[in-house]
Symmetry: C2
Subunit: 276 residues, 2 copies
């Protein structure tokens, strides 16, 4: 599936640089969630700001994004500042601002990133991909609920889909699914960051109850090199997420993302607000 | 074991507020690692700055600390800014600065934090404490190598101690240990943050090779309430850490900390540089 126009993901990530590290962007309607953009596209956009900075050193290693308040429709400003550059690592502070009700800028999102030059060393993968059916042997599912961003991904679940019946019968929070952009698009660091946030709130599965929930903070560790991304191309990623602790309004989950060859491309964690 | 003077941990965390969110502190010699303070004490100090801020809302929920460069001996400055305050969450940006070689301030450390007001909700703990011997049935070990900060903790390992022989024979990276401050000290959010960084580099265990290594970024999610901390008192915490992916100079690990009653107090993740 190809198209001559810009992919929705690339369109969403278009930034206009006003000065090094100062960007303007537009909240992307095609990635709209219930009350603002999908958190993953916001994380990807912050990473895009880092990658476009003329002083950037190396590739993404770590990204933390804190969702202070949802973005609203319209334009936003990004600040991406390399506050410390070492020989092989570079440390970034990130923020998104939008005009508040009175026109004054309001911080919606904060974050930090680390980029790094990597060299070949002894390596070992201890987070092995689970043995699951191949993407072609699984059905792609329609969007589980009516929001735009779900149409931007092809999802072929292995296990742990959104409950069909909200009867409080849940007893675990493990989901595994194959995923890729829809239409397909060659994987890069930004789309990897976005996909790290693709998992619906673990509390929905754990409780079989669809309570209000939203990510407060996500961290992504990038293990992929440019060569790993190129080898993945527009193939599927296997994502796995599982909640750890659900307590008094917040839970955390751990996630891993592998390509079809079984290489870990990223690991991720997030802490999520939930109600009741 | 009691003492009339201030505990070394409290001494290390003493900050002088110059203005709201602007603090001065001193790199703590009793928590010295090989070339600078133990990363856990630096994380705890940043959290302390948040907790001392007059505008703080709620208790710690998430903390990310990025180690841009080691602190050196002498004084440092902390900036802790509540950039966004919602009804029940507050978002913080954090940094530590020290005078560089030419006297100009240099950023050594960046970070973000989220504090939150929590209310009672449905809860479930899916990260169960492993079945292990009680602290009293295990030996406290002497510091595994000659650095000051290891003397500030009592450690009673269950499994996965630092290898005695560096012969390249490692085949896993799981460590479990009981730990508490030495001398004992009632647990608080800051000491919990510090203990989340107590694990020696997983790559040493995985390879049975003591290559140079250092944390680049750590994230701690706090599940404990003030009541959980009070119930823990100066008892032991069970810490568990395991590496996920070791690749081309960086690995990540996941960690959990329980109290003796089996309550998860915090979960944590970090990405760590290693050589060769």
């Amino acid at each position: 599936m190809t198209t001559n126009s810009l992919h929705a993901f690339d369109q969403a990530l278009q930034l206009r640089a006003d000065a090094p590290g100062q960007y303007q962007g537009e909240s992307p309607k095609p990635y709209w969630n219930m009350v603002g953009p999908f958190g993953g596209i916001t994380a990807a956009t912050l990473l895009q700001a880092v990658l476009q900075h003329p002083d950037r050193l190396g590739d993404p290693l770590a990204l933390t994004v804190n969702y202070g308040g949802g973005l609203v429709a319209g334009s936003f400003q990004i600040q991406a500042v390399p506050v410390r550059t070492n020989r092989s690592t570079q440390h970034w502070t990130l923020s998104i601002l939008q005009s508040g009700p009175d026109g004054a800028p309001v911080v919606t999102t904060t974050g930090t990133a680390v980029t790094a030059l990597r060299r070949e060393t002894w390596s070992a993968g201890d987070a092995l991909a689970p043995q699951v059916p191949k993407p072609a042997d699984l059905q792609a599912i329609p969007p589980a609920f009516e929001v735009e961003w779900l149409r931007r991904y092809e999802m072929r679940p292995v296990t742990g889909v959104i409950p069909q019946v909200w009867d409080g019968s849940g007893d675990h929070s493990l989901s595994q699914l194959w995923m890729r952009d829809a239409p397909p698009r060659a994987l890069d660091f930004c789309s990897l960051a976005a996909m790290a946030d693709i998992f619906f709130p673990r509390v929905w599965l754990r409780r079989a109850r669809q309570v209000p929930a939203g990510t407060v903070s996500i961290t992504v560790y990038f293990h992929a090199s440019q060569a790993d991304l190129a080898a993945t191309g527009d193939g599927y990623l296997l994502g796995q997420a599982r909640g750890q602790e659900f307590r008094n309004g917040f839970f955390d989950h751990s996630a891993q993302l592998w390509n079809e060859a079984g290489t870990v491309l990223a690991t991720s964690h997030q802490i999520v607000y939930y109600k009741e």
